[in-house]
């Protein structure tokens, strides 16, 4: 499997398209500052949990790590992630093209993350 890091909606869409045909998992988090800390505390908690389970993804998978933007952008109810991907919160971990997703505290739970990566 491979990881692609993107920032913002257009980059996400483009990367998603280029991975067409392979299982795509995406983790959406708030932007990180110069010290590498996200404005989103739940994202800070979730990221290591998710990273620890990445080895459970199917071999050909693509893992897109996507920074959505700053806090103000995220709070805007019309931002592209909310409108087009129907995201309701960060962090969100989803299997692209399926209704399977984990939102906020669900991402803290290793077993749920593992289930998302391994279940059909």
């Amino acid at each position: 499997w491979e990881e692609k890091q993107v920032r913002g909606y257009p980059e996400f869409v483009q990367t998603g398209r280029s991975a067409h045909g392979r299982p795509i998992f995406a983790l959406f988090c708030g932007d990180k500052d110069a010290e590498g800390r996200s404005w989103c505390p739940d994202c800070v908690t979730a990221e290591p949990v998710v990273r620890k389970e990445l080895h459970n993804m199917p071999d050909e998978s693509v893992f897109i790590y996507c920074l959505v933007g700053d806090r103000a952008y995220w709070k805007d109810p019309n931002n592209e992630f909310r409108k087009n991907l129907k995201l309701t919160g960060v962090p969100t971990l989803l299997k692209y093209g399926t209704p399977q997703k984990l939102v906020e505290e669900e991402c803290f739970k290793a077993e749920l993350v593992r289930m998302l990566f391994t279940e059909d």
């Binding site: 399926t98 209704p99 399977q100 997703k101 984990l102 739970k109 749920l112 289930m115 279940e119």
Partner: protein, 571 residues
């Protein structure tokens, strides 16, 4: 963190409440003969457990593998440890539908070790689906959504009268609706998976059958076997649509409700065979989205329901555009060269044989439990020889101790999601929560979601007459017109309601029947009144909300006995 010991996984935690401590205590004894408790826990070798308010177990083991030191007992918060000595699980539920999941999740709340087996045998046409059972996948949920799609079609027609500029006729695209419905159902499948995982309920996607009264053999599609043992087993495998037995081509060419909701392409010109609510509801929304739809009925519609109401339902469907072949039954189904289906049937009224071609033939001739593959005979679980359903007593117990059943699979129970859920929850509470409350199957409200909906609670008029005698009951009734129908110039001939009451002093309400828009929403509240033993005088004291259809119920005053015209006018 865990160690296997004689094929049991003992896992570990640090957050146990008092109840869970007790649970662990009684069960852990069995394991502790092989363990040595470290003295700092206040325990002594082999037996005693320290279980204090600190809620923290520390156990050390003499023969532990390298590096394994102090496991702690785990489970959900308030949770448990390994199950009783000889059985892996406290509760094993076979069937992940409405009843099964409710029972399993409730049992898990008590800190019990619970597992669910769910497996969907593909339909003869190859349709299959995920966790959640009939209601979620091929029943209530997709049905109500497609019913809504059809209602919206009617609303679009009405909209013109209310000033909207909508080009008529309006067209419907099946695949857009189907994909949206199917995606929603899939999100429910996922939601159930997450919930089970979250509540620490073990999920197996296996087809289960009994090896003995505490052992289930689970098979994957490929035939790989897993053995699961449990102290208590709940059978909640539900039912599947029946196929007619004496109709050539029925199995090869017909579909059922299992398939209808998962079709990617429109079913086109459809024949629905059957007089059940499944048949009428499906035929209803197919008509509503603009398809040429015919219902074939051998005798009466909605057997078991109040027959006057059932007639009004079918009358409305006919005026709405559904074709009816009454007192007919099919004899053959053949496939034509253009892939259409040629159906031949007998008209018992005229004594003739007739034929027509359709794109789709859907069988809605009843549902039957799938008990054959469960191997019930091996353990002695008794079933009704006619229906195949499992016989249970008032506590959902079968003829075998520690084996229970809930939901559609049980004999003599309503085949409804809310009753299965309630029965499953109560069962878990009785088994693990020191409750003795039994399920009450009286006055269960329900609704048939035909184009004009029919909601009811309590006895039908026929049942009341049979039970009390026509002299001892009073039936109040009214034909009404929903306000929304007026401007839209809609026919309200079948908008009708009736209330069956005891005639003697108290005049307790025995049954309430309502046909009209949003019948389910209307009847739900009244079900509470009926459950509390509401009487006609109490209802008359209840002020209605205006303007609604439901308020007409509070104003019912014309009796059938009087023979007066029951049409009520608006204000």
């Amino acid at each position: 963190m865990g160690k296997t010991h004689s094929s049991l996984l003992i896992s570990v935690s640090t957050r146990l409440n008092d109840q869970a401590c007790e649970n662990v205590q009684e069960r852990a004894e069995w394991h502790y003969t092989d363990f040595v408790l470290s003295p700092e826990d206040g325990g002594s070798d082999g037996k005693a457990l320290a279980c204090g308010p600190a809620q923290c177990f520390i156990v050390s083991c003499e023969t532990q593998p390298e590096g394994w030191r102090h496991p702690s007992f785990t489970g959900p918060a308030g949770g448990t440890a390994a199950a009783t000595g000889k059985n892996e699980y406290d509760l094993l539920v076979i069937g992940g539908g409405s009843g099964g999941l409710a029972c399993a999740k409730e049992a898990a709340q008590f800190g019990r070790k619970v597992a669910v087996l769910d497996y969907v045998e593909p339909s003869p046409q190859g349709t299959k689906w995920g966790l959640g059972g009939t209601c979620v996948n091929v029943g209530c949920i997709p049905k109500k959504l497609m019913h809504q799609a059809a209602l919206l079609g009617s609303a679009l027609k009405d909209a013109q009268h209310y000033g909207w500029n909508i080009a008529q006729p309006v067209h419907h695209t099946w695949s857009v609706m189907a994909q949206a419905v199917q995606n929603y159902v899939k999100s429910l499948n996922w939601g159930h998976r997450v919930q089970l995982q979250d509540k620490k309920v073990k999920y197996f996607n296996l087809k289960g059958s009994f090896s003995d009264s505490h052992t289930i053999r689970g098979l994957t599609k490929a035939g790989k076997e897993t053995i699961v043992t449990a102290e208590n087993i709940v059978i909640a495998t539900g039912g599947r649509p029946k196929y007619p037995t004496h109709v050539a081509g029925a199995l090869e060419y017909g579909i059922t409700s299992d398939d209808l909701f998962w079709l990617k392409e429109s079913p086109g010109k459809t024949l629905v065979v059957g007089a059940s609510y499944v048949s009428l509801e499906c035929a209803g929304f197919l008509t509503g989205i603009g398809l040429d739809t015919t219902v074939m009925m051998r005798s009466i519609p909605l057997r078991g329901f109040d027959q006057q109401m059932a007639s009004l339902v079918t009358e409305h469907m006919e005026s709405y555009g559904t074709k009816f072949l009454k007192r007919c039954f099919p004899t053959t189904v053949e496939k034509l060269e253009n892939n259409r289906l040629q159906v031949t049937w007998k008209n018992t009224d005229l004594g003739t044989e007739e034929t027509d071609s359709f794109d789709t033939v859907m069988w809605a001739v009843g549902r039957a439990p799938d008990t054959e593959t469960l191997n019930l005979e091996t353990v002695g679980v008794k079933t009704n020889s006619e229906t195949g359903k499992i016989i249970v007593d008032a506590s959902e117990a079968t003829s075998v101790p520690h084996i229970y059943a809930v939901g559609d699979i049980t004999e003599g129970r309503p085949e409804l999601t809310p009753t299965a859920i309630a029965a499953g929850k109560l069962l878990a509470q009785r088994l693990f929560g020191q409750s003795s409350e039994l399920m009450d199957y009286d006055n269960v409200p329900t609704t048939v979601f035909t184009p004009l909906e029919y909601g009811c609670v309590g006895l039908s008029e026929e049942a009341a007459v049979q039970c009390y005698g026509s002299d001892n009951i009073e039936v109040y009734h009214a034909y009404y017109k929903p306000l929304e129908f007026t401007v839209a110039e809609r026919d309200a001939s079948q908008c009708y309601m009736k209330m069956v009451c005891l005639r003697e002093r108290e005049q307790r309400i025995l049954g309430l029947h309502f046909i009209g828009p949003n019948a389910g929403e209307v009847i739900q509240g009244f079900a509470l009144g009926i459950k509390c033993g509401a009487t006609y005088p109490q209802l008359m004291k209840t002020i209605g909300i205006h303007p609604t259809c439901a308020e007409e119920i509070t104003k019912l005053h014309i009796t059938k006995r009087s023979g007066l015209d029951a049409t009520v006018t608006g204000c």
